[in-house]
């Protein structure tokens, strides 16, 4: 009906243009158009947080944002947080704490945790648990994830 729209964004620091239909969510665009499949689809209705990305400095669930709404936006996905082959301290902490099993929720948890630590470098366990309330894990449970974020916070403060 309305064809495709040309959208200009910056994804993981790189200028990225794409064409999308208005009905395509940012999640669909990232995975199916741009080819960044690190962002996962869980519930597709905002409940599970698996598709969490950072949009203009704030975490959002990409399934509830339209691709066309991303015009001019800066987006960070899981592909954009390691640097030069070195894992981000949060990624490293998730590995060391075995804070994942199937891994579908992991990119969302890591991006939500990054947004927390960028704002609050030394959160309490309670603050971490409350902040991650919109990210669901159905296999590992949350203790290892929370410990990983606490470890990452400590590591990042040493640097």
């Amino acid at each position: 009906m309305s064809g495709k729209t040309h959208v200009q964004t910056t994804i993981n620091g790189e200028h990225t243009d794409f064409l999308c239909e208005p009905r395509q969510s940012l999640l669909e665009v990232l995975r199916d158009v741009v080819g960044l499949t690190g962002t996962k689809e869980g519930c597709n209705d905002g409940n599970c947080g698996a598709c969490t990305v950072i949009l203009d400095g704030r975490i959002v669930t990409a399934c509830l944002v339209l691709g066309v709404e991303a015009e001019g936006a800066e987006i960070t996905t899981i592909e954009g947080i390691a640097s030069g082959g070195i894992l981000h301290p949060i990624q490293q902490a998730f590995l060391e704490n075995a804070a994942l099993q199937c891994g579908v929720c992991t990119p969302g948890f890591i991006l939500a945790s990054k947004a927390l630590l960028d704002e609050n470098p030394n959160p309490t366990e309670h603050e971490i648990r409350f902040w991650l309330a919109n990210n669901l894990c159905r296999c590992t449970g949350y203790d290892k994830i929370v410990r990983a974020v606490l470890d990452a916070a400590a590591t990042m403060q040493e640097v």
Binding site: R23, D45, L64, V68, A115
Partner: protein, 322 residues
């Protein structure tokens, strides 16, 4: 999701001109946390979406003539982080924090919260706002554990889902809406209506009107919200109470408003009257809580909400006074 035209106007007037005068042909896109889900589920299938994202006038919070003006497209996280809101309107901050999701409050907006559609699972499963199947509502004999205990004589049994409305009503706030005929002011208390048939929506605005700002008087009322929830995560509360009153040696001007108990935010004049003229203490707060349950008529599975109303009102009053 069905295809639609995406319109991205930069002025309120242009946005109004793009809207249809009947519900559902066009939809207004603010944060989208409710609308996008509703479109995926086929609950609404608009031919055009009118985004408010690029209308600068709808953003931001400012003081004006003894009031706080909140642009309708201001995000809930920006609202909760605002210094004036934190200082004067803790009832709003509690309501926003209660949403329990950084992701939702980062995109969800103040105006969008007021106009989100009910969470009634019959509605969400496609049986319409009144939950009707074969000419009869499924709700009175169905699973009504989260439904109304007030204002539920029919045909509506769902509860109003807004997080902000009870607090805004308690604080005496109003909403400016713009349509074809210009701008008008509606008290938040008059914003929600109970439909009598499935073609209607539950708002007192027209399909081609847009909320542009919320105005809250800054008149020093003590205020608080208390929510009763199953869990501290992303979910709607079971019952909430927002209260505002003028503190002195004795209380006056009390407003007690309940959320999630009726098709509209429920103003409890009995609870307000019970607190006026009293010193605030646990006994007075409990008496107001008791009064708030007057007239409750639970359905088959939601009698538990009556006790929750007592507790929520009592704790909100004590929190406001703390």
């Amino acid at each position: 999701m069905k295809d639609f035209e995406y319109a991205n106007p930069t002025s309120v007037k242009a946005a109004v001109d793009l809207l249809s005068d009947s519900w559902g042909n066009t939809e207004v896109l603010a944060g989208g946390t409710d609308l996008i889900t509703s479109m995926k589920q086929g609950l609404t299938e608009p031919t055009r979406l009118v985004s408010l994202k690029n209308i600068k006038k709808l953003q931001g919070i400012s003081k004006k003539k003894g009031t706080l003006q909140i642009g309708a497209a201001t995000t809930l996280s920006a609202l909760a982080a605002n210094g004036d809101v934190q200082q004067h309107f803790p009832a709003l901050v509690t309501a926003i924090e209660g949403i329990g999701s950084a992701q939702m409050i980062n995109v969800g907006t103040a105006g969008g919260d007021l106009f989100q559609r009910p969470r009634c699972w019959y509605f969400r499963q496609g049986y319409g706002l009144l939950g009707v199947y074969e000419g009869k509502s499924l709700i009175p004999e169905g699973d009504n554990r989260y439904h109304a205990i007030f204002g539920n004589a029919g045909p509506a049994y769902y509860v109003n889902p807004s997080s902000l409305a009870p607090a805004l009503i308690a604080l005496g706030a109003s909403v400016s809406v713009v349509g074809d005929g210009g701008e008008r002011e509606i008290k938040v208390a008059d914003l929600h209506t109970t439909p009598s048939n499935t073609g209607q929506r539950e708002f007192s605005i027209e399909p081609n009107e847009i909320a542009v700002a919320i105005t809250i008087p800054m008149n020093g009322l003590k205020n608080a919200t208390y929510e009763i929830r199953q869990r501290r995560g992303l979910d709607w509360p079971l019952v909430t109470a927002s209260v505002a009153f003028k503190a002195g040696s004795i209380v006056s001007g009390t407003n007690v408003v309940l959320g999630h108990v009726a098709p509209v935010p429920w103003r409890s004049s009995a609870a307000s009257a019970a607190l006026n003229g009293k010193f605030v203490n646990a006994a007075a707060a409990a008496a107001a809580g008791e009064a708030a349950t007057r007239g409750a008529a639970p359905l088959s599975k939601n009698g538990y909400k009556v006790q929750q109303v007592k507790v929520a009102v009592k704790r909100a009053i004590l929190a406001a006074n703390a």
